[in-house]
Point group: C2
Chain length 217, copies 2
DNA sequence: GTCTATACTACGATAGAC
DNA sequence: GTCTATCGTAGTATAGAC
């Protein structure tokens, strides 16, 4: 093992620093000098670990998405009924967003900022797009399953996916604004529990099919 | 009249161009040269209309927010019951986001990107914060009213505000991703109508109090 | 693998002619 | 009100010493 670890510590540290900075200020707002020096390196040493700025950025994004995918995959694969499975996915998603500060913002940026870093599609963006597509696909299928089985109302699953992203990713990305709105830190254990409860209650009432009703109603 | 219009056209054009560019690439991702030349001016002429980059940015943001505020104020002030009033606000909000492309992204950025353009709080950011605070305050009070009158479930109004922002602002800010997910343009009249219907249905089932139940249940 | 030094470009902003 | 010219800084990236 370890046949692929050039210097081990520095690369990880660059990814950590890059994750924090890119999350806060976005791709264009971050200078490589700041990244390198925050990691305890000189500016030029960064280029020994990453070919350029975009490569660093997508390496950071891919690590965040990989973490999320690893965490959520088993929850999607559980044998529970769709509604219970969705509850588990929501809890797991919120947990990962909270455990790794910055990942919510980084993910939100990846979703709404069109990757217009370069004119032509970048090959290094492909792995990240693959993971996002897989995650969204699983969520969409879970919702579709619930609708097919009659446990959920017949909603538009893509629109519900968007609503769920907004309710989770956006919420935990909304730093100072969200904190001012709630009156206490977004990631405090109390507000995290509250967020989970509020969202799951909204879905329980709003997504679950409202029991069996006679068609004449 | 007209005592305050120096050149009229250029300033408006700069705001238009700035709105499009800042929405797409964020504050740091936009160069003043591109803004000026896209407006048909030289780079230096821009400084005749705006003192600097931050002033241009907040002028753009303020215009967007002002537009939104003017549109939504009467909807918030309507005499309808809270649930119907909320429906109207949602329709109006989505309409403004759709009519002015870029405003969703610009607003989303303003909400989740902490204004870390400068170390100290900028005086030119204050008007925008005032409008946002007013809008959010009205929405929060509308929800609180509905809860107090028993028309809504006893939800956390700040959390519901966040959910609504995510369901509207984020959705229409999610350009290529959202379009790929839905399979057709976000702002097509069909998808806009669908978005309104899906969201209002979710709220109708998930936010409205589920009829009167005996307390012993 | 990290450093100093450097090339080249673009940035925000200012000065002054017209 | 717009222009050309310029300043100072910081950006990404490369070359080469250690």
């Amino acid at each position: 093992m370890d046949h692929e670890t050039p210097s081990a510590g520095s690369r990880e540290k660059l990814l950590d620093v890059g994750e924090a900075l890119f999350a806060r200020r976005g791709f264009a707002g971050v200078g490589l000098r700041e990244v390198a020096e925050s990691a305890g390196l000189g500016k030029s040493s960064l280029f020994h670990h990453f070919k350029g700025k975009v490569q660093l950025y997508f390496a950071v994004l891919e690590r965040v998405l990989q973490r999320m995918d690893t965490r959520l995959k088993p929850l999607f694969a559980s044998a529970l009924a769709p509604a219970a499975r969705l509850d588990g996915v929501i809890d797991g998603l919120i947990d990962t967003l909270v455990e790794h500060p910055g990942s919510a913002r980084l993910l939100l940026r990846a979703l709404f900022e069109d990757d217009d870093f370069a004119p032509e599609p970048l090959p290094e963006a492909e792995p990240t797009e693959r993971i996002i597509e897989a995650l969204i696909g699983r969520l969409d299928r879970l919702l579709g399953e619930g609708v097919a089985q009659g446990e959920f109302r017949p909603v538009s699953t893509p629109h519900m996916v968007q609503t769920l992203i907004g309710a989770t990713v956006y919420h935990f990305a909304s730093g100072d604004f969200g904190e001012a709105l709630l009156g206490s830190p977004l990631c405090s254990s109390e507000q995290v529990r509250r967020r989970k409860d509020e969202l799951k209650a909204l879905l329980h009432h709003g997504l679950t099919a409202p029991a069996v009703v006679p068609s004449g109603g």
